[in-house]
């Protein structure tokens, strides 16, 4: 396998989407690095950005430019070395402008898939729809005579299924980036039964060059990330539904969102996370996973209800949060949707009452942002969970049960051969979900 040669003609499918644009950018950085190496002088590198929406592609280039600028500013120390032999590039600003030009000239936008017919490498980040993915891959593979390698960003569809249905003969690998790809360190890598070893070898090198963390997952629908998240979300929705028999729905949502954020010291509550990913996307992932999971019902009536009501969450093109379970102002939740009344109820109207019911927070609790990068993190968490364990408030009990369930999900991912080991499960939650601690821990033992 020639690493450099593979990069000479690359396509990204779904390039203007949330994940696709991030993958496009990371690929562009890697290709720019290669194209700027003296030994690759004279070689041509092309990165086809393919998306059905012309409008989205126009926005994409503008967005990519600002991202490349940020990246160049951050990496100026290294970039000056790259351009050391260019006597005309003297100041940082000269180097940065040249780099932006060198990255952008790689990218060619297209609205038609034909552009990928001469690519040797194809990254895919289109809709999470098994039939659509198979159809697209099959078509490219039939016409493209170069036996291209397919890297799919699927977060839930088994790779072996796509491989077989699209007749790719093992030229496919699951390379699952996390949102946003430019920031998140985690990349889940999934081989099909027949994935050729050189694809994995290549992907590992790319991931390493991008300074990301590779975690392998078995080829089981949902893999580790969604395997944990979907079950964790289902548990949250079940708990909220249960609570809503004793209290208004919006209060139940408030409670569980608070438990999962503040009590469990996570970056966001479970309902905010569902909104962040998109209620529709969550519903779709569960639909993909359901047929493959025999002993559990991976399905949420609550998600169906919200979709029926047209409340979908997800993000706007500029990365801002759309309203879902929660309503957002400047990225912060301010209200909760009441499906019965079809309107949002302000959090400030219910929070005091809810918190009184949940009881006092443990005295040793600290916000996630204080804990996550703290060198004394383990000590803080040990102390906190030790206190939580002794408490008997409604809030504390909900939190303890939630943490236990989260651990149970993690342990089962290993015993069901979705994850190779406990550590991989924890790494996925730490690096892909920014949790301060892995779900498989002994804090509540």
């Amino acid at each position: 396998m020639d690493y450099v040669e593979k990069f000479e003609n690359v396509s990204v499918l779904g390039a203007a989407g949330k994940m696709g644009s991030g993958i496009l950018m990371l690929t562009a950085f890697e290709m720019a690095d290669l194209s700027l190496k003296p030994e690759n002088k004279g070689k041509t590198f092309t990165l086809h950005a393919i998306d059905v929406s012309q409008e989205a592609l126009s926005g994409l280039l503008k967005n990519i430019k600002s991202q490349v600028l940020k990246n160049a500013e951050k990496n100026i120390v290294q970039l000056r070395k790259v351009y050391a032999n260019r006597a005309d590039l003297i100041e940082n600003i000269d180097v940065i402008n040249q780099y932006i030009g060198d990255v952008l000239k790689l990218i060619v936008p297209h609205t038609h898939i034909e552009a990928s017919y001469k690519s040797t490498l194809i990254f895919e980040a289109i809709k999470e729809d098994p039939d659509l993915k198979v159809k697209v891959f099959k078509k490219i593979n039939e016409i493209n005579t170069l036996k291209p390698w397919f890297f799919t960003n699927t977060s839930s569809i088994p790779i072996s299924y796509i491989d077989k249905e699209a007749k790719l003969e093992g030229r496919i690998l699951g390379v699952h980036f996390y949102n946003p790809p430019a920031v998140q360190k985690l990349v889940e890598v999934i081989k099909s039964e027949n994935t050729k070893p050189e694809l994995h070898e290549f992907a590992s090198m790319l991931i390493k060059n991008l300074r990301k963390i590779e975690v392998p997952s078995y080829d089981k629908a949902g893999f580790i990330g969604n395997g944990h998240f979907m079950r964790d979300a289902l548990y949250g929705m079940e708990q909220a539904t249960k609570l809503s028999t004793e209290m208004p729905f919006v209060e139940a949502i408030y409670d569980i969102n608070k438990i999962t954020q503040d009590y469990l010291i996570r970056p966001m509550g479970i309902f905010q996370l569902i909104d962040y990913v998109g209620i529709d996307v969550c519903q779709y992932i569960m639909k993909v996973m359901k047929p493959y999971v025999k002993d559990e019902n991976i399905h949420s009536p609550l998600l169906d209800k919200f979709i029926e009501l047209g409340v979908k969450g997800g993000q706007n093109a500029d990365g801002s949060q759309k309203d879902g379970f929660l309503k957002y102002e400047k990225g912060k939740p301010v209200a909760i949707y009441d499906p019965a009344q079809k309107q949002y109820v302000a959090i400030s109207d219910i929070s005091a009452k809810c918190e009184q019911k949940l009881g006092a927070m443990p005295a040793t609790v600290k916000p996630w942002k204080v804990v996550v990068g703290n060198p004394a993190k383990d000590e803080i968490l040990k102390k906190y969970f030790a206190e939580l364990k002794t408490m008997d408030t409604i809030g504390a009990n909900l939190a303890k049960n939630y943490a236990k369930r989260s651990k149970e999900i993690g342990v089962k991912l290993v015993s069901n051969k979705v994850a190779y080991c406990d550590k991989d499960v924890n790494t996925v939650l730490l690096t892909g979900f920014f949790h301060a601690y892995g779900p498989i821990n002994d804090y509540l033992n």
Binding site: E73, K74, V77, Q78, L79, R80, I90, E91, N92, I93
Partner: protein
């Protein structure tokens, strides 16, 4: 050389040093520009000296407004401070980060030449108009442009990182790093006592640990962390340089003034590398001249404002003055001699690392701090000035030990 006339400084004023660290600083919203700072500082001093009518001449010291603010002809901002300054002479002076003290020297010379009795000197820089990565380009102008291409992305941190690296090699890394961290601790502790300081609201508990943070060569330089560096700042400082007649005209009592009793100015070739990376030769030359003119020794100094553009530069300055021999600067600092309760408190309002470094203003800011300390007006930051050691010393540096001014003061 002897001073032919008595020279005093009065009416010192500092604006806030604005930038990261200040609670009110937000890089995303528009902030006051150069003219705002010049006006605030200028009016601050005019109020204390009886107004514009008492001023004979103005000097504006600034390094790179032409690039930070796309502004030249800064002398034209003098009458903007107060209409009463219209048609009075004004010059703008530049000597990189040493511009401020060049401004002072310009005022001192006018008074000595008897062409003025009251000179208003303002130093200013507004740097937060650009991000750090471009700020580095602009500040690199303090070095020889022909060296820019070969230099580090962060040009001056790169230069002083090299100095620190050589110092580590020659005299031991561990102790030197500890002393640099200690320098940072002193700077922040002092800044916390001065409301205009950029680090005034710093609440970090374990400052030593922060100071000891490992450098990250991939994103910055090899031998310095960001806490070893002075701040990127917007600010201005102003002071009036006056003769005895000037004092009378302004109605200011001598005891509220400081007297310049010696100065040393020294220049070195910008196209040549330092002779010895672990020494500040030009600083030594300037301080020596200042001491000779003042006819005092270092033992008589109560406090020093030195040009700690980086913590290592502070340590090298300790040696350049002669408080410690070559290689012993770190010990002198670690023993606590330069802290505010030590033998010779350095940079009592935080210096460039803690108070801030609006480059063109720094030399003037140092004079204002000495004025406040020697006249007992430093507020919370006041240190004890022993009766038998009544002198204050300043060192202002432009470039990598190139443009130097050192001044010795005592209370008037």
């Amino acid at each position: 050389m002897k001073l032919r006339r008595k020279i005093y400084m009065v009416g010192g004023y500092n604006t806030i040093s604005m930038g990261t660290g200040r609670k009110e600083f937000n890089p995303k919203i528009e902030r006051p520009g150069l003219e705002y700072y010049i006006k605030e500082a200028g009016q601050g001093t005019l109020k204390q000296i009886g107004g514009a009518k008492n001023v004979d001449e103005g000097v504006i010291a600034n390094f790179m407004a032409a690039r930070f603010n796309y502004q030249g002809n800064l002398a034209g901002f003098m009458p903007y401070i107060d209409e009463g300054l219209t048609y009075k002479p004004c010059s703008r002076v530049e000597g990189a980060c040493g511009s401020g003290a060049l401004g002072l020297m310009s005022g001192i010379r006018s008074v000595l030449a008897e062409t003025a009795d009251v000179v208003l000197v303002i130093g200013t820089e507004v740097q937060n108009t650009v991000k750090a990565v471009y700020c580095a380009d602009i500040l690199a102008g303090a070095g020889w442009f022909k060296e820019r291409k070969e230099g580090h992305a962060y040009f001056f941190p790169g230069k002083f990182s090299d100095r620190a690296g050589h110092y580590y090699e020659k005299f031991g890394k561990e102790k030197t790093r500890k002393a640099m961290a200690k320098w940072y601790v002193n700077a922040i502790e002092n800044a916390r006592l001065c409301p205009t300081a950029q680090e005034y609201s710093n609440t970090t508990k374990d400052l030593m640990a922060v100071g000891m943070m490992e450098p990250s060569p991939r994103s910055f330089v090899d031998n310095l962390n960001v806490f070893d560096c002075s701040k990127v700042s917007d600010g201005a400082s102003a002071i009036a340089i006056v003769s005895e007649e000037g004092l009378k005209r302004c109605g200011i009592d001598k005891k509220d003034a400081i007297e310049v009793i010696g100065f040393g100015q020294a220049e070195n070739d910008i196209t040549k590398p330092p002779k010895e990376l672990t020494k500040l030769d030009t600083t030594t030359a300037a301080v020596k001249k200042a001491f000779e003119m003042a006819n005092i020794t270092k033992e008589q100094i109560a406090t020093v404002e030195c040009h700690d553009c980086f913590t290592i530069t502070g340590i090298l300055a300790v040696e350049a003055i002669g408080f410690a021999e070559h290689g012993k600067g770190p010990d002198f600092v670690l023993e606590g001699n330069t802290s505010r309760t030590g033998k010779v408190p350095f940079n009592t309002t935080g210096g460039l690392v803690g108070w801030g470094h609006p480059t063109g203003a720094t030399g003037v800011h140092q004079a204002v701090t000495i004025l406040e300390q020697l006249t007992g007006k430093a507020g919370e930051a006041q240190i004890n000035i022993p009766a038998d050691r009544p002198y204050g010393l300043t060192i202002n540096m432009g470039g990598d030990d190139k443009t130097l001014v050192s001044i010795v003061y005592k209370r008037g």
